[in-house]
């Protein structure tokens, strides 16, 4: 299991408070890691630092042993780092199918010259993109919704859609910010099965979660964060028994 994503000694303050405080962690391929911790612990900030939306004051981020600190967010995404957002970002005014087609990488038609010329090779690629997008929607169980506007989908369906987009982008590293929060129980099982399947296929799955049951079910490793620091790291059973975790979650 090679390490795919490494974060070293990252520190970031917002308005004087430390969102991340000398935080280090390694995420490996084929494994599911869960980040848990109270609100404000720095979990989403960590994702933002990895993706390049927030620049840390100190520390480095490595992807496959390459330093990626100089890269813009879109460049990091093209390396295969995919992400969903806590506030469920997607394009509401496009259909589910368009949302997933949008995510597909290396589209010739995204070059303006190709868009105008519309050569056969680009048209064929677009057709293939459409088929693949339909397949991803089927994989997450949204096949019947493919022509509906994303903003008309239910909350849980939208979460599935963001997952499908993430997968369609070809991401090998998936950073999922609360993928099952607010989703009804049957859908939760489906999402967890998908995540396990992805890890088995060799992807690096990292997800932020508040629900300890969910975490225990599928995570290989759990990282407990608080006030921007890594408080504890290990298999779910070990973390569950950590008194600080118990205190944070029973409260």
């Amino acid at each position: 299991m090679k390490s795919v994503l490494t974060v070293n000694n990252v520190t970031k303050h917002f308005d004087g408070t430390a969102a991340l405080d000398d935080f280090s962690c390694t995420f490996e391929s084929g494994r599911i890691t869960s980040l848990i911790g109270p609100n404000g612990a720095g979990k989403t900030t960590l994702f933002n630092v990895i993706c390049g939306f927030v620049e840390p004051e100190t520390g480095e981020v490595y992807h496959d042993s390459n330093l990626i600190c100089r890269l813009k967010p879109c460049e990091r995404a093209r390396l295969g780092i995919g992400r969903t957002f806590q506030d469920l970002r997607l394009i509401g005014r496009m259909t589910a199918l368009e949302n997933v087609m949008l995510a597909s990488p290396h589209q010739l038609g995204e070059n303006i010259a190709h868009a105008i010329l519309r050569l056969p090779i680009q048209r064929a690629q677009e057709l293939k993109n459409r088929e693949e997008a339909a397949r991803w929607l089927e994989y997450v169980g949204l096949a019947e919704k493919q022509d509906d506007l994303a903003e008309t989908l239910s909350y849980g369906q939208q979460k599935l859609l963001t997952l499908a987009s993430c997968l369609a982008s070809g991401a090998e590293v998936l950073l999922l910010d609360e993928p099952v929060a607010g989703v009804n129980p049957e859908l939760i099982t489906k999402i967890l099965d998908i995540l396990t399947d992805l890890a088995n296929k060799g992807k690096t799955v990292v997800f932020i979660e508040h629900n300890l049951e969910v975490v225990t079910k599928i995570a290989h490793t759990v990282v407990f964060m608080d006030v921007g620091q890594k408080i504890d790291e290990g298999p779910p059973e070990k973390i569950r028994n950590n008194p600080r975790v118990i205190e944070a979650y029973i409260e």
Partner: protein
């Protein structure tokens, strides 16, 4: 001659500073890029002109009426357009476009009432003045410079040491938080528009005591003010004043060597330089380009 260009630069800087103050205030507190400010700037002059040449009022009264009506127009926009849109949670872009429409309507009403030719309220003062180091300066021009300095200081004091001013700063940095802390955000914004419009009116009137007026001159003046705000940093009054100084001086010293037609190109180059290298201005804080 150099000293004349320096004096002219100072006068220009003062004129720019006056426009910039009102604009920066509204922009800072509400986030609105208030194009209509350019029309308010012109409205004040024309109302003053009408009071003097049609109603025969004395200059002092005319100016008061001019500023008063400018404030009223600014309030029409805030209460009639901007506030309902805020209530509907419209994006600031929608309010901006409304401000564009408001500018067009107001400027054309002025054109309809007064025609597009130039008007003047300069005739009241004789072109006397003083000589300083070989440069000539008239009393009106001294008034322009004095107004700029006085008003800048006044706004700075208001913002820092009065309760309303602090309220404005609170709304500027976080309107939701301000509202939750019990501040009446609508009243604060109302006051902001009152002050901003008053400053626009005063700026226009003072400048028109020295130069002729046309209904469309507001845009160029506004542009200068906007660039001053960008150069200085919008959250800082000293910054805005500094920006105005740089702009005014560069224009005049620039044209000393280069022909006057390139004056505005120089302004654009200054703007581009700041956008490229220091978009937050001299005194602004660096903003993230993305909010996640």
């Amino acid at each position: 001659m150099l000293s004349q260009q320096l004096i002219n630069g100072l006068i220009s800087s003062a004129a720019i500073c006056l426009v910039a103050l009102g604009f920066a205030l509204v922009y800072r507190v509400t986030g609105l890029f208030h194009i209509a400010h350019g029309a308010l700037y012109v409205a004040g002059m024309y109302v003053t002109y009408a009071c003097i040449s049609i109603a025969g009022l004395a200059l002092g009264f005319a100016i008061m009426v001019g500023v008063g009506i400018t404030i009223a127009l600014g309030l029409v926009f805030e209460i009639g357009v901007s506030r309902p849109l805020r209530r509907k949670k419209s994006s600031i872009l929608v309010i901006f476009v409304a401000s564009l429409g408001f500018y067009v309507v107001l400027q054309n009403v002025i054109s309809l009432l007064f025609g597009n030719g130039t008007r003047s309220i300069r005739t009241w003062s004789i072109r006397e003045g003083w000589e300083i180091l070989g440069a000539h300066i008239t009393p009106v021009q001294v008034i322009i410079i004095a107004s700029a300095i006085t008003l800048s200081i006044a706004v700075m004091i208001f913002q820092r040491w009065t309760k309303m001013g602090q309220g404005m700063r609170a709304v500027a940095s976080d309107p939701e938080l301000a509202s939750i802390s019990g501040l009446n955000v609508n009243n604060i914004i109302l006051l902001t528009f009152v002050l901003g419009s008053a400053l626009a009116g005063i700026a226009g009137i003072v400048v028109s005591l020295d130069a002729d007026m046309t209904p469309t001159m507001g845009m160029r003046a506004l542009l200068m003010g906007v660039v001053a705000v960008i150069v200085g940093g919008r959250n800082s009054i000293p910054g805005v004043a500094l920006g105005a100084l740089i702009l005014g001086m560069t224009q005049h010293l620039g044209t000393w060597q280069i022909s006057a037609k390139w004056q505005d190109a120089i302004v654009f180059v200054i703007l581009l330089i700041f956008l490229l290298f220091r978009p937050q201005g001299f005194f602004g804080k660096k903003m993230r380009t993305v909010h996640v």
